[in-house]
Amino acid sequence: MNNERDNEFLEAAKSTLDAGARNLDARILARLRVARGRALDAVERRPAWLASQWFIPGAAVSTALVMAVAGLLWLSSPTDELTVVGEDSNLIAADENVDIYDDLEFYRWLADENDAA
């Protein structure tokens, strides 16, 4: 019963509200028409690629890819340089090693002689 009364009340309220919306004055209707026109202009002016629903996800994925590639390049390239610099610095720091490299042929010959003996 209460539900039925509620439904009647809601139907009546809706009809009343509809009647109010139908009877808006001409000035308001004109301004609503202008507002609608401006909104539609905004749709027509917008480039299709920008209006696409894939634009934002696409831009996000592209940015993420660029960031990932940049990150990989940044992480990988300095390591190689550091390794080379590290090897060079070992050679430079240890004087005896440089002498060994200079006399490498002599030491090989000496080793062969010892083996032969």
Partner: protein, 196 residues
Amino acid sequence: MALFATSMNNKAIAARENGLDTAQELEQFLAGVERRAFRMAQLATGNTDDALDLVQDAMFKLARQYAVRAPQEWGPLFYQILQSGIRDAYRRSRVRNRWRVWFNLDDAEDDPLLNLPDTDSLGPEQRLVNGQAMNALEIALKRLPLRQQQVFLLRVWEGLDTAQTARAMGCTQGSVKTHYSRAVHTLRTLMEEHHV
């Protein structure tokens, strides 16, 4: 090469036609909702110019940001934008009113429902169909808390379901149910109390 050019041309024509369809569909949608949207904004703000600005802003944002969405999504999206604008306007007006009260710029408020002529002992359903119905319902709606008013109008007038209303208002479905039930109860009570 010629085949490629023809294909691109066809795609451009299709896109343009598609754009026109979207614009036409959107115009129909906006024309269908604009009066109700205006009345909702007017009831919430109590000001015709503010209401028109809110509707214009909602139309513009919908067209600019969501025209590419499926047309069946436009309703909840449009009301989401509009209701958000209404809430912002309401907050601003409350701050303004607080200052006015502090500086005693307003006289004590009259109860507009009490000023309506008393009619007879008909139930509210029958009274809504008479000439005072709009006035009475409008006054009663204005007395509802904003959230209840918004839920009532979206559910009853715009016909949004609970989920769509929750989305439009940025709250939970449980909240919508609570606001709706309270709104219906309060409106009935107000209409009955004042015999309008």
